[in-house]
Amino acid sequence: MTPTRDSSQRVYLDHAATTPVRPEVRAAMEPFLTDEAFGNPSSAHWAGRPARAALAEARECIAAAVGAEPHQVVFTSGGTEADNLAVLGGALAARATGRPFRVAVSAIEHKAVLDAARVVERLGGEMVLLPVSAGGQVEPAAVDAALEQGVALLSVMWVNNETGAVQDVVSLAEHADQAGVPFHTDAVQALGKLPCTMADAPITLLTLSGHKIGALKGAGALIVRDKQVLEPLLHGGGQQEGVRPGTENVAGAVGLGVAVKLASAEQTETEHHTRALRDDLERRVIDALRDATVNGRDGTRAPHISSIAIPGADSNALLMQLDVAGIACSAGSACATGTASPSHVLMATGLPDELASASVRFSFGHQSREQDVDRVIEVLPDAVQRVRTLVASLAEGA
């Protein structure tokens, strides 16, 4: 049996892409997937009541975990929708109230933020792209300049999904607050990996995603501290105070609530567990491949993500090699065709093109094991060698 088919040989180190649904999450959702609790949470009758109560409980779980109020939890179809609502909704609200129709975002944001900001441009507004250091941290001077110029919203992600770069979110939020600018952070990769709370920071909007922490794909939330700063993008039946109308995905929201609660409760443990595995992986990869380097190593990094540049090892080809050996990981941002173009994140940190297209990302989760790292170390050197031979043979033809 080939490794990709043999589950005992499979290694999953792509937790920044998605994670399996946790059993606790599945159990909690179960009643809402049967006729036991199928009601519409907006219905006043008996069928609606359990659904409404479950939504309320999910909101409480999430609010408690991130230091917000339950009514501030707005369920969305995931991180992408939450980011779009924050950036585009924030810009549109500013335009409507005569504030600057301009958003400031870091150069290493997820495409959900960057492309939403580009829509602001297309609508006649402006996007200020904030540069980052080699470690991936946004340049404070650029932030201050943008705030001084006047923006509808400052959006900087808490943890970058490709390199794990961590931002000083508290300080950024405070700067924005002093300038009277709403602050949004995409915390999709931060929750459960770092202490991730709004309690001590004036964060206006915070994005969460379910499937990165063992809940369902298609379930996420935007924590909205001040709904005045947002114009809704969807319009309909007025659910969720009109900020995001539409009958709520009850099962998804319940699952999200449980997953956020677990992620938050297990945060310290997950942080230590993933950091130990990641550090071990990086040390052993560099031991085995002398010229490999860890991207963003000079900055603060989240514990669960490792982006490694391997000179001469084209990442598309290397990913195929690893997949054939049963190892799932990823390169930069995968495009719709399944090929990866050089990552905008790595390029923004100043990594040269040839290293950006020769970088792979391993990302860990709470069920990752030491054997996963062992298997990578067993497979990687040969795989890299084969890719280098391939690259050389293609170059010879050229």
Binding site: T337, L390, G397
Partner: protein, 352 residues
């Protein structure tokens, strides 16, 4: 015991889908790969076999067959080896066949490099050709036979090639696809050059050449006797044997019989003047023992045209001169001369 590991080029069309399915049935360990050859972007509407949809179709078939599927990004290489050559050939007054270069450089050579990297014994494609004992033969379906485009591939590649549908007719391939319930069973044929939208190759040239390029600038149309009878809008818009776009008013129908890039001239003549008695090939490649002066074979100078008996006059340094047993119409520089012994493809070259 598996007969081996094979990297199958899956374009997202029905032929390569069935090829992959047959190899799975035969017990091969199959890895599917779709070569992304150029940026489909916003400029070119979706086309059969050459679009993001096609990559998706290939992935769907691979899922159905339960085999891994990858996308190989060949965009830069396709641009370098195929599109640039296509443009410079037209600019030089010839009529190139990009599919030949694509087969020679991209489809087979680069695919084999990837196969090696993945530890595959073979590569496979959905071509209507037969591979037997390291030699290439025409596909059983003569209307679909693709050997004409394959003379340039390396002999070492042929030894590792599998063409599982070479013995099938197109109809048999389709009915197999239906029986196997493959999503691509009813997909329409792609007949055009994949990177040339709507067959408008001049538009591609305009995109790649400067606006004042000689090949796209006006020049004289003259007869074989030297009489100028009109003006054309660029010789790259003409090919040997063409009637369209020529001035009328002659006693006999007139055809393009020559292009003279130095003078920017398009030369026209009667149907009789279109016929040639010899063929000169360059960039000759052999898939069998090289022919020597005095040897005979058959040469085919156009896709789907009838091969003609020929005698090798001389051959050296990648060149080959052949005398034809009977005159052949519209022998066109840039097109291919494929050499056959009956069903077997012996090799070929680019017509000079």
């Amino acid at each position: 015991m598996s007969p081996g590991k094979v990297l199958v080029a899956m374009s997202g069309g029905v032929d390569s889908s069935v090829a992959a399915a047959l190899l799975v049935e035969q017990g091969y360990e199959v890895i599917g790969a779709t070569m992304k050859l150029f940026c489909y972007g916003d400029t070119v509407a979706d086309r059969p076999c050459c679009s993001l949809d096609s990559i998706q179709d290939a992935a769907t078939v691979a899922e159905r067959l339960d085999v891994p599927h990858y996308v190989l990004d060949f965009e830069d290489r396709f641009q370098q080896f195929v599109v640039q050559d296509f443009v410079s050939e037209y600019a030089g007054g010839r009529t190139p066949i990009p599919c030949v270069r694509c087969n020679t450089f991209t489809k087979f050579r680069d695919l084999l490099a990837h196969a090696d990297a993945l530890g595959c014994d073979h590569i496979a494609t959905g071509h209507y050709t037969i591979v037997r004992d390291g030699a290439l033969y025409r596909g059983r379906d003569r209307l679909k036979d693709q050997t004409y485009f394959m003379w340039g591939i390396d002999r070492g590649v042929v030894e590792r090639m599998l063409t599982p549908i070479g013995e099938l007719t197109k109809e048999e391939t389709r009915s197999l696809a239906r029986r196997l319930d493959l999503a691509t069973a009813e997909k329409p044929e792609s007949v055009e050059i994949c990177f040339v939208p709507d067959g408008d190759y001049a538009a591609v040239l305009e995109q790649h050449l400067p606006t004042d390029a000689p090949s796209l600038s006006p020049g004289p149309i003259r007869t074989t006797g030297g009489e100028v009878i009109g003006e054309h809008r660029g010789f790259a818009r003409y090919t040997i044997g063409q009637r369209r776009g020529l001035p009328g008013g002659f006693a006999h129908p007139m055809y393009v019989v020559g292009i003279e890039p130095e003078e920017r001239a398009v030369v026209v003549g009667t149907a009789d003047e279109l016929f040639g008695h010899c063929v000169e090939l360059q960039e000759v490649n052999w898939l069998a023992e090289p022919l020597q002066p005095g040897d005979t074979c058959e040469v085919q100078v156009r896709y789907r045209s009838k091969p003609t008996a020929a005698l090798v006059k001389e051959g050296a340094g990648g060149r080959l001169a052949l005398d034809l047993a009977e005159p052949v119409r519209a022998i066109t520089p840039g097109q291919s001369g494929a050499l056959y012994d009956g069903e077997q493809l012996l090799g070929g070259g680019v017509i000079n």
